[in-house]
């Protein structure tokens, strides 16, 4: 039992857990640290009601305290599909450094201003022509090179690029033949998306007439749910298939053939995140309650690739974020819990 107690102590020193009153799904870690080394983490509820919640927590990596800010919680229509803080220090945009911009997606794309003790709805981006119908957004990505751009993915088969400063649609592309489930920027004008049509496509805003299919799921029309572009080496991206335990690693220079397929999850994979500080590490989490950290080898062995390390959560992990500003921390969400893990 000595081992166990030491381990739990070790764990407690290197992890922090927040327990909510409702199931959590969406999650975002602020890229800027507020005063006193506090990092904001936003979590979105998954409540099967119209009114959902977004809570803003403050994480102190030194004290390992994860503290909710009740004054910063706000209602959100429907469960948010994604939360994201402004990718860079928003000093250019905002007057106070203590102010963060938070974007959420669900029925529409929304921008929120997270202040010291309040959150204000800044804007709602709606491109729909009818009020009666709504095509929900499955995801979005904030362009970290050109932060005025946010790209959204919708089940109406399109991706919409918003200029959030002007509040106008820069372009809307019929990206896929079926619902689009995720979108990721590669550079200022290049993004990629995954879809129910089973394909990963790359788009260049300078040539909207074409796209490139980088990958298609082996079973035709097996939806691809998530996409992660390796920010350390943009040649690589990762995607996951619905109901599959595989993480598919793609090299965009060799379309069609994945360079690696990581198949050590024992349930379907739910979330993936590249390491912000290393081009060859990726974390995945899934229904097997495990978060796996992989190091991509140069050459795969005959038996596939084993992960480097494993973390077992109590139950199915629904979300995974790897903090860009504090790369030693991975955040996972499972059930009602959000947990920060030191890696």
């Amino acid at each position: 039992m000595d081992n166990t107690s030491q381990e739990s102590q070790l764990q407690s020193e290197n992890s922090s857990t927040y327990e909510s009153t409702y199931p959590l799904y969406a999650m975002a870690i602020s890229s800027s640290s507020t005063s006193s080394n506090l990092q904001r983490i936003a979590v979105g509820s998954f409540i099967e009601e119209y009114t959902n919640r977004v809570d803003i927590l403050s994480f102190n990596a030194e004290t390992l305290t994860l503290r909710p800010n009740p004054s910063l919680s706000f209602d959100h229509p429907y469960p948010p599909t994604k939360l994201m803080f402004h990718p860079s220090t928003p000093s250019s945009l905002l007057r106070h450094s203590a102010v963060d911009l938070l974007a959420t997606s669900g029925d529409y794309l929304r921008l929120w201003e997270v202040r010291e003790s309040s959150v204000e709805a800044l804007s709602l981006f709606n491109n729909s022509k009818t009020s009666e119908f709504c095509a929900p957004l499955t995801s979005f990505d904030w362009n970290d090179i050109d932060p005025k751009r946010i790209g959204t993915s919708s089940i109406d088969t399109t991706c919409t690029i918003w200029d959030i400063e002007k509040g106008v649609v820069e372009t809307q592309l019929i990206a896929h033949d079926k619902e689009v489930y995720d979108i990721a920027w590669g550079e200022a004008r290049v993004f990629s998306s995954v879809s129910a049509d089973g394909s990963v496509r790359i788009f260049d805003l300078r040539d909207k007439e074409h796209s490139t299919i980088i990958y298609e799921s082996p079973q035709p029309d097996t939806p691809l749910l998530r996409l992660a572009w390796n920010k350390q080496d943009l040649r690589y991206m990762a995607t996951i298939l619905m109901d599959s335990n595989k993480v598919v690693i793609l090299d965009i220079r060799s379309p069609t053939m994945p360079v690696a397929e990581l198949e050590r999850h024992r349930g379907s994979v739910s979330a993936i995140a590249w390491a912000p500080q290393s081009s060859r590490h990726i974390c995945s989490a899934g229904d097997d309650a495990q978060a796996l950290i992989w190091e991509l080898p140069t050459v795969a062995g005959p038996n596939g690739i084993d992960p480097m390390s494993v973390y077992s959560a109590g139950c199915e992990i629904n979300q995974l974020q790897w903090s860009a500003t504090q790369p030693d921390w991975i955040a996972i969400a499972f059930a009602n819990k959000m947990q920060l893990l030191r890696v």
Binding site: N14, I174, M257, G267, L296, A300
Partner: protein
């Protein structure tokens, strides 16, 4: 945590690195970032061991939480359902989704806004083409091509869970009518003649009218042979593949001949590879949009120029023999990689024929042909012409015009194309064609023998005299096709030309088994196995083409011959309109008023001779009579008539000398509908034999699968066996590349090909020569010819090695670049298994993503190249470069896990570098600055450099 984790992370890491290849390999790599996850919270991965390893906890939890999809699925795939649970008033309508237009222009101006200005139905992705009567739905997924006839869309048929190709005809009466002919011909060919799909004719699945557009649903096929050659750098294919393809095309042509159908536009573009991996290297003949029945040769301006037969060029009556000419041209092109007669004009075409073949059309043909004076001058006296048989003394009274003479007559200079084969004759062209590099001496000797066979084979096909030209059956017995050793010039088994007779006799189709053949006492179930043994090797398949049996019906043969000529040629005439030529003449059907008919017969000693010899000798070696109940129709006792033969020949009761059918034919005003109905009637009648038996005969021979195949030489069957998989593995990269085209200069080629299609189609629908230029690939060929290899690099870089050509290394060729400036480094992955680049850390990508990916490629296409156009739609189109799964572009050498390496016998496949291809096609590269110089060379052994501008 239900299991204790070792705290000593170092130990854990060590053990894991010894067991895991990933860690092991990582250790010898420079890990630039140096970052490694610590193991404070995360533990080492322990590979599951047996049952115990299957994670129990999550599954138990899963039960407790109730079986629900993961949240990620509930907020993607099921988001509408989820949001509706959250808010029952939530409404989403798929119908409001923006439409992706496939048709250009996409503005609806005709047909209540359904059609664009060209009368094309405006197609969008996921548009449903509804066959109302059958309650079938075809969901449009992509555009495969378009032409003057309309568009071809790749559609999803949810009933069969498969993709099909749907030809959506323009909403104009002329196209509609012409397409109906195609439907009729193909339906008949499929159902009556080839019910088991063994004769390499494209399958027609369905047809219907949707929004006033005739839609014809075909099986979806793959690359055409022109594209295949193009992928092979316009170098010839290996002889074994040429043989394999020849055999299959002949099989299809034999069927056409049986059915009395002339394809009229046979060319490499109209022969497509099958997609199915079950049938590797299988090809099919497509596009019956210009086909006609042999007795209804309406148009005189037919066939794409390179493949146009001399009789068509000269304006002479034509038969199924014109397809055999085209076939000869195709076989030569498959071997040479370039067209045999790439005539830049008809004058040039004829000039090339005469030069390469060393001869000219026979005098009887020239005397009667409408356009003779355009290309020939008469050098004999009038008398000698009247004496006819001018060729008896070996001297023709006609002499081809020189360029200057032609110019003087026509008041314009003839366009003359480049020479590819430097004034060589056929023998020299084939003999001197470069051999594959590094071929062992014995292989060269072997191939030189096969080349001799090929020359002999071609000689029988590109034969000026249509009467002497071999029939599909005759050609199919040639050693080049059978694989037998070629020892002496081939003497084809005699054959009576096809007798196209339209039967008016009604047959009770409800009793397929009770047809005339049964009545005649023929056994419909001839055991196929016993047949071959009864024949010498040469005549092994005597029973094969039913056409063969036509001639064997006693004296009918010769009579039929004349009828046939009268019949099929009677309709010959001006391209503008045939109707005036059709007069309700007497039932004899001899169209004396026409220039064809008897006159030709009188001047065609060859044809006559064959006709006369046919009955007695044709199947004289047929010892099989005993196998069959002799025909009770007074035919020659030696006659062999397989049950699959068609009624009009063997059925005495119906085949009267006066042939009422002929009268009917000519009496009809050539309306499409009457033609159709008669056609069907005749077919039905003929079909009343036993299709199964027919099939047996066919399949055993052609597919090389049946037991009958046993007498094939060993080598041949091996080739057959191995070639398919070989080709298949090669098709894929090729296919991929083809789709990848469109970026740079390759557009040129595509467009010209496209043009050809349009032209061809306009030719069939609007028989206006001025409107129809079959010169589909001139630009391309000229381009190739007139410039150095570099100019074609783009084409070439998309190409592949098919068969016999020497392996090539990507770097060598790609260095030619395409007038580009920024070097691009393509890194190949290591040969073994899946791989992940080791340079990830060391060569982070330039933040500009240029080096990284391959945007901006053109539309994928199957049938025809399709050059994408913009749409006025608010939404950008998103045509995609598609890399279909299961068709990996990578060659076996560096992705052995996924791509089966080609069989050793085709080891010449060599390396292909599809990725180079993709890079050299990058259009973004052209647009974007600065050049990507930030990607350092990789440490891989093989580097391929491509340049993009």
């Amino acid at each position: 945590m239900d299991e204790a984790r070792p705290r000593n992370n170092e130990t854990a890491a060590a053990s894991s690195s010894s067991s895991s290849p990933s860690s092991a390999s990582a250790s010898r790599l420079p890990v630039s970032s140096g970052w490694r996850p610590s193991r404070v919270v995360f533990g080492p991965y322990v590979p599951p061991q047996g049952e115990e390893a299957t994670a129990q906890r999550p599954q138990r939890l899963r039960v407790a939480v109730a079986v629900r999809k993961p949240l990620v699925a509930r907020l993607t795939k099921e988001i509408v359902e989820t949001y509706q649970i959250c808010n029952p008033k939530f409404k989403y309508s798929e119908d409001l989704n923006p439409k992706r237009f496939l048709t250009t222009p996409s503005v609806g101006v005709l047909n209540d806004g359904y059609d664009n200005v060209n009368s094309d139905l405006i197609l969008t992705v996921n548009l449903v083409l509804v066959h109302a009567e059958k309650n079938k739905r075809y969901i449009v997924k992509d555009l495969l091509g378009h032409g003057t006839f309309g568009q071809v869309a790749k559609c999803w048929d949810s009933d069969t869970n498969s993709f099909v190709a749907v030809k959506i005809i323009k909403n104009q009466p002329a196209y509609y009518q012409q397409a109906l002919v195609e439907v009729t011909i193909l339906t008949t060919l499929n159902k009556k003649y080839d019910p088991e799909d063994k004769h390499h004719i494209v399958r027609i699945y369905d047809y219907f009218v949707y929004q006033r557009h005739l839609c014809i649903c075909f099986e979806l096929l793959d690359t055409n042979l022109y594209e295949l050659i193009k992928m092979n750098h316009f170098r010839g294919l290996s002889l074994s593949i040429v043989q394999l393809f020849s055999k299959q095309i002949l099989c299809g042509l034999a069927l056409l001949k049986d059915a009395g159908i002339i394809h009229c536009d046979l060319k490499p573009e109209n022969i497509l590879l099958c997609t199915s991996t079950v049938k590797p290297a299988e090809i099919k003949i497509i596009d019956f949009g210009s086909a006609c029945m042999e007795n209804r040769t309406v148009y005189s301006y037919i066939q794409s120029r390179y493949y146009r037969s001399p009789e068509v060029l000269l304006g002479y009556q034509y038969t199924t023999a014109i397809d055999m000419w085209s076939f000869g041209c195709i076989v030569a092109e498959l071997f040479l990689g370039l067209p045999l007669f790439p005539g830049a004009s008809e004058f040039d075409l004829l000039r090339r024929m005469i030069e390469i073949l060393g001869g000219q059309p026979p005098d009887y043909l020239l005397r009667e042909a409408k356009n003779t004076s355009k290309f020939f001058k008469c050098i004999g006296s009038l008398q000698s012409i009247e004496l006819s048989e001018g060729s008896k003394n070996g001297r023709s009274v006609y002499q081809a015009l020189t360029e200057e003479e032609y110019e003087a007559r026509e008041m314009k200079k003839p366009s003359v194309g480049k020479e590819y084969f430097n004034h060589m004759n056929l023998e020299a062209i084939v003999t001197n064609y470069p051999y594959r590099k590094n071929l062992p001496k014995e292989d060269i000797i072997r191939e030189s023998q096969i080349r001799l066979a090929l020359i002999d084979f071609l000689r029988g096909l590109v034969e000026f005299d249509p009467a002497k030209r071999w029939s599909p059956f005759q050609a199919s017995k040639h050693p080049f096709v059978t694989g037998e050793p070629f020892t002496q010039p081939y003497q084809p088994p005699p054959e009576t030309p096809r007798v196209p007779v339209v039967q008016t006799v009604k047959v009770d189709n409800n009793h397929p088994g009770g047809g005339h053949w049964f009545a005649a006492g023929l056994s419909p179930n001839v055991p196929g196995k016993s047949r071959p043994s009864l024949y010498s090797a040469h005549f092994q398949m005597m029973q094969y083409p039913p056409s063969n049996s036509y001639g064997s019906v006693g004296s009918h043969g010769s009579y039929n011959e004349s009828i046939g000529l009268g019949s099929s040629y009677g309709s010959y005439g001006d391209n503008s309109n045939m109707f005036p030529y059709y007069s309700p003449v007497g039932p004899s059907g001899m169209n004396m008023h026409n220039q064809g008919g008897m006159a030709m017969l009188g001047n065609s000693p060859d044809a006559r001779r064959r006709v006369k010899y046919q009955p007695g000798s044709g199947l004289g070696i047929s010892p099989s009579t005993g196998n069959f109940t002799p025909l009770p129709l007074g035919a020659s006792p030696s006659q062999f008539t397989p049950p699959s033969s068609y009624g009009q020949v063997g059925s005495p009761g119906h085949y009267g000398p006066t042939s009422p059918a002929r009268g009917t034919t000519h009496g009809s005003p050539l309306g499409k509908t009457p033609a159709v109905s008669q056609f069907n009637r005749r077919k039905n009648w003929g079909y009343s034999g036993s299709p199964q038996t027919q099939e047996t005969g066919f399949s055993s021979h052609w597919q090389g699968q049946g037991p009958d195949n046993s007498n094939l030489p060993e080598g041949t069957s091996q080739a057959l066996g191995s070639t398919p998989s070989y080709v298949q593995s090669n098709m894929n990269p090729g296919h991929w590349k083809q789709r990848g085209s469109g970026g740079l200069s390759s557009n040129l080629a595509m467009q010209s090909t496209d043009l050809a299609h349009e032209n061809a189609d306009s030719g069939l629908s609007l028989p206006d020569p001025g409107d129809w230029d079959p010169n589909y690939s001139d630009e391309l060929l000229l381009q190739e010819d007139g410039s150095d290899e570099g100019s074609l690099t783009n084409e070439f870089s998309r190409s592949m090695n098919l068969g016999s050509t020497e392996p090539w290394v990507g770097s060598g060729r790609l260095n030619h670049g395409t007038s580009t400036s920024s070097p691009m480094i393509i890194q190949r992955l290591p040969a073994s298994g899946q791989a992940f680049s080791g340079e990830m850390g060391s060569s982070p990508m330039h933040h500009d993503l240029q080096a990284g990916f391959v945007p901006s490629m053109s539309k994928p296409f199957h049938y025809m190249p399709h050059v994408l156009q913009n749409s006025p739609s608010r939404f950008g189109h998103q045509p995609v470069q598609r890399f279909p799964h299961g068709r990996p572009p990578q060659s076996g050498d560096w992705n052995q896990l996924k791509v089966a390496p080609p069989p050793p016998s085709f080891g010449s496949v060599g390396q292909r570098s599809p990725r180079n291809t993709s890079f050299s096609n990058m259009t973004w590269g052209r647009r974007m600055n600065p050049p990507v110089s930030s990607m350092p060379p990789t440490s891989r052994a093989r580097k391929d450099y491509a340049r993009i501008d």
